[in-house]
């Protein structure tokens, strides 16, 4: 059942690198990450790759396989022809540290800018009462394993470094939607989604939804509803009037 596959893997550090060719054994049922591990064990012991669970649950082994963002652990070798050359490169949107490992600190910085869950005062632990239907919307977004592939694929920042400061990417816009839809969250999220996190940059091309390994409908269920909420707020005549009066009073 085993055969020799042709792999081209990005190797390099410190901003320089190139694709290196390997011929490597593949056995039945293996995934791309298995092959990367075999390369480490037999041909390139210092080949850098992130991984942890090897079961699609931790979101560590994000890479681009034949140009498509994928989890190495969930990409089965049987989806490729045996004579096909498989090209593996690091995620493109983030700076490469070495080989397949990127500096993903952009994501952690953006995470820190989203105000945390804010429950109303006076609700004590143990007193929370929520209906299953009311938590399911946010639960879908909490399935996120933070593989960062949605942020990686998003064209707003993929080829536009200059947009990074103003745009939190699908991952963190979805986090804002998750909190906004949490039955007990009382913080103002709509205006800040638009003003502070760049929701307006998103033009719903759904690339993020397509690459999500958890099959979260990021665009349809998080980003579009969030945009609608922002619009509701912006064009609500009462809110408009309130803003006018408030501004005048200042």
């Amino acid at each position: 059942m085993s055969y020799k596959a042709k792999f081209r893997v990005w190797r390099g550090e410190g901003g320089e690198g190139k694709l290196e060719d390997f011929t490597v054994e593949v056995n039945e049922g293996e995934v791309v990450l298995d092959i990367i591990h075999r390369l480490q064990a037999t041909q390139a012991p210092d080949l850098a790759v992130r991984w942890n669970c090897k079961a699609g649950k931790c979101g560590s082994c994000s890479m681009e396989i034949n140009g498509k963002p994928r989890l190495g652990c969930m990409t089965r070798m049987s989806t490729f022809a045996e004579d096909e050359t498989i090209t593996v490169t690091p995620m493109r949107t983030f700076p490469v540290i070495k080989d397949l490992v990127c500096d993903v600190s952009f994501n952690y910085e953006k995470a820190r800018e989203v105000p945390s869950f804010t429950p109303p005062e006076g609700v004590r632990p143990g007193e929370y009462r929520m209906k299953q239907v009311d938590v399911e919307r946010s639960q879908e977004f909490r399935k996120c394993i933070e593989c960062f592939m949605c942020n990686n694929v998003c064209h707003v920042i993929r080829d536009h470094e200059e947009n990074k400061p103003a745009f939190s990417g699908p991952r963190y816009l979805m986090r804002i939607a998750e909190l906004d839809m949490h039955p007990y969250d009382v913080a103002e999220r709509k205006e800040s989604a638009q003003e502070d996190h760049g929701l307006g940059y998103c033009n719903i091309t759904k690339c993020c939804t397509e690459v999500c390994p958890e099959h979260i409908k990021i665009t349809d269920n998080a980003l579009i509803p969030m945009k609608e909420r922002v619009v509701d707020r912006k064009y609500d005549p009462l809110v408009w009037l309130g803003n006018k009066i408030f501004k005048r009073a200042k």
Partner: protein
């Protein structure tokens, strides 16, 4: 070249090593008590092995069955551990778990709900009532994300107040600690390296909390990730602390067996908790043949009764598929050995004939996804093939129950790396709650310890230089391939100190371990110091070998079978062994000494929670006489 003078140096009150459930909960507690806290983790923040936990966190909240309470949970935990547990830990755990779960909800966790809007609770092996707070079958992810987000919330508070997110709590991610440092007998800090750059880092800190998880990477078939190399176990040993119960390893009964590349990956116990059954190649629900004497009153003896239990727990006994994990794993092992296994060497776990397809997808979404994408198996239409996989080590650092303090002043441990709580076998669901309860206690213990110090212990330049030399050594050699040494260790432990053990095989394993020790001295790593996995593995090998020796030596000494330790040549539990703990330590840093130590007798009010009949199956005659005196 860096030396002890110019190595990057950070001063903290508490350094937490490990960023899974226990580590994060410990760090949150230390920071909430005003301590400057560092979290050091080998992977990215939020990727720790806790994300893999599926089933749930056991806490006797009584949301589904109001008869549940801490005493029932305590009894279940002690039974699951075959009465070898540190009973004080089991007591604290059962009492505090509900508060720890509710606290997560106040930090933003969204558990599945009951009809009346409370946290839903599911059935699990060994738990008398539905007890596991859960989110589908991805509870660990919910927990790690909630704790991660709590850390961020605290950082946001600090930013508001001090203008610096990292003023009081900072995450050092992709950073590995290789040595704990001491001033006399006290902890003074830790030495490690950045994975990204390979440069060294020093923590100057009076208190260290170890929360590094387990040792599964010493085995071939395991549900554990690469991080599980026994780092905390080894760091503690090398710092002079003791490990206990190292012979007890939990082989989870249901790991994937096919395809080969995913062998060992976990199939959650929730499959059985929600109605899934185990069958052999003859279609028989074989678990009815494996109900041990000590549990025979609590488990159904017919399929009809077992099936009725799912809807009527008051009048029926539990299905034997929900026996504690050690029992189920041994049963599967026996069926496969008897030639009644599935084509790929496991048994069948079937939920497809037990629940409607939509219900399976709702309750077990990750399992559906995992089998569909990795094995081309649709679990709503056909059975899974499963077999035992190395999952969890009950053994770990000997700690004081209330404060999580190890014997070395300034050293604390919580979660899988700590020993005692689970006795000889852990119940499913008791791990996530353990992380929360003892994570918090370790953070509090460390904070209190720091408050009580008259002066900060000092770092020693000599120790730092030694740690530096040790870490650089593999880069300066071009000898053995670390991956090969690792594979040989894994094969040895899997084959010779696995689920079923015997004296000759364990002795053989110990001989191999001795040879591997020599080979580790020759292991070389090519390439630079920048993100070099070969180098990292070469350094992890020291830890894996130390803990493997502990496991094998303790397994050889314990001449009985109990929980996660099954001796083919010594079948059956022996009451005189129940009170004996095997304590591992090292004098020279390379060889392990094991000594027997008596475990204190259970407090009167706790032992009185059990029936005399049940206790008589575990206790010696003298202990029973003592019980009768108390019970009077």
């Amino acid at each position: 070249m860096d030396n002890s003078i110019n190595i990057e140096r950070h001063e903290y009150d508490v350094v937490v090593i490990g960023a899974g459930g226990a580590g994060l909960r410990a760090a949150i507690e230390a920071r909430q008590q005003g301590k400057r806290t560092a979290i050091v983790c080998k992977s990215l923040f939020g990727k720790a092995h806790t994300v893999m936990a599926e089933g749930g966190a056991a806490a006797a909240m009584g949301n589904v069955n109001p008869d549940d309470n801490w005493m029932v949970h305590f009894r279940d935990t002690m039974r699951g551990g075959k009465f070898l547990n540190n009973w004080r830990m089991a007591e604290l755990h059962a009492k505090e778990a509900p508060d720890r779960v509710w606290e997560l909800e106040a930090w933003g966790a969204l558990f599945d709900r009951t009809e009346d809007g409370k946290i839903s609770q599911r059935n699990f092996g060994g738990h008398e009532y539905p007890r596991l707070a859960h989110v589908g079958d991805r509870t660990g992810l919910e927990m790690i994300r909630t704790l991660q987000q709590r850390v961020v919330a605290l950082q946001q508070e600090d930013y508001e107040q001090h203008g610096d997110y990292e003023a009081y709590i900072k995450v050092f991610q992709e950073c590995t600690v290789t040595r704990l440092l001491k001033d006399g007998d006290r902890i003074s800090g830790a030495f490690g390296y950045w994975r990204e750059t390979g440069s060294f880092i020093l923590f100057d800190a009076p208190a260290v909390v170890l929360a590094t998880g387990g040792i599964g990477k010493s085995y071939v078939v395991t549900s554990n990730s690469w991080e599980y190399t026994g780092d905390g176990h080894a760091l503690a040993l090398l710092a002079g602390a003791n490990l206990i119960n190292m012979e007890f390893i939990q082989f989870h009964p249901t790991g994937m067996v096919w395809p080969p590349s995913v062998r060992g990956i976990l199939v959650t116990e929730s499959v059985r908790g929600d109605g899934g059954v185990l069958r052999n190649s003859e279609g028989e629900r074989f678990m009815f043949n494996y109900i041990p004497e000590v549990f025979k009153d609590q488990y159904a003896t017919s399929e009809e009764e077992a099936d009725r239990w799912y809807t009527d727990q008051a009048n029926n006994r539990r299905p034997p598929e929900l026996l504690p994990r050690d029992e189920v794993a041994r049963a599967i092992n026996a069926e496969v050995k008897a030639g009644r296994g599935s084509p790929q060497g496991g048994v069948y776990l079937d939920v497809s004939t037990r629940l409607p397809a939509e219900e399976i997808k709702r309750r077990l979404p990750s399992m559906y996804h995992q089998f569909k994408e990795l094995a081309d198996v649709d679990i709503t239409a056909e059975p899974m093939q499963v077999g035992p996989t190395c999952h969890y080590i009950m053994g770990g650092i000997e700690v004081e129950a209330d404060t999580a303090a190890a014997s070395v002043p300034g050293l604390f441990a919580a979660g899988e790396v700590a020993g005692g709580m689970h006795g000889s076998n852990r119940l499913g669901g008791n791990s996530l709650s353990d992380l929360l309860v003892f994570g918090r206690r370790a953070g509090a213990g460390a904070a209190a310890y720091v408050d009580g110090l008259a002066a900060r212990p000092k770092l020693s330049a000599q120790q730092i230089d030694a740690a530096r030399e040790e870490a650089l050594a593999p880069l300066e050699r071009s000898g053995e391939n670390p991956y090969e040494v690792h594979h040989e260790l894994q094969r040895t432990m899997n084959e010779l100190v696995g689920i079923i053990r015997k004296a000759e095989e364990i002795s053989e394993a110990l001989q191999v371990v001795e040879k591997l020790k020599e080979r580790v001295q020759l292991v070389g790593a090519g390439g630079s110091r920048i993100y070099n996995p070969g180098w990292h593995l070469a350094l992890d090998l020291r830890n894996m070998i130390l803990v493997s020796e502990c496991v094998a030596k303790a397994a050889l000494l314990r001449e009985e079978s109990r929980g996660g330790h099954t001796r083919d040549d010594h079948p059956g539990m022996r009451p005189e062994w129940r009170r004996k703990l095997l304590v591992c330590s090292t004098e020279d840093g390379t060889s392990i000494t094991v000594e027997e130590q008596e475990q204190p007798a259970m407090r009167g009010d706790l032992i009185s929670l059990f029936d005399r009949d049940e206790l008589s199956k575990y206790l010696t005659d003298e202990e029973m006489a003592e019980f009768d005196r108390i019970a009077k």
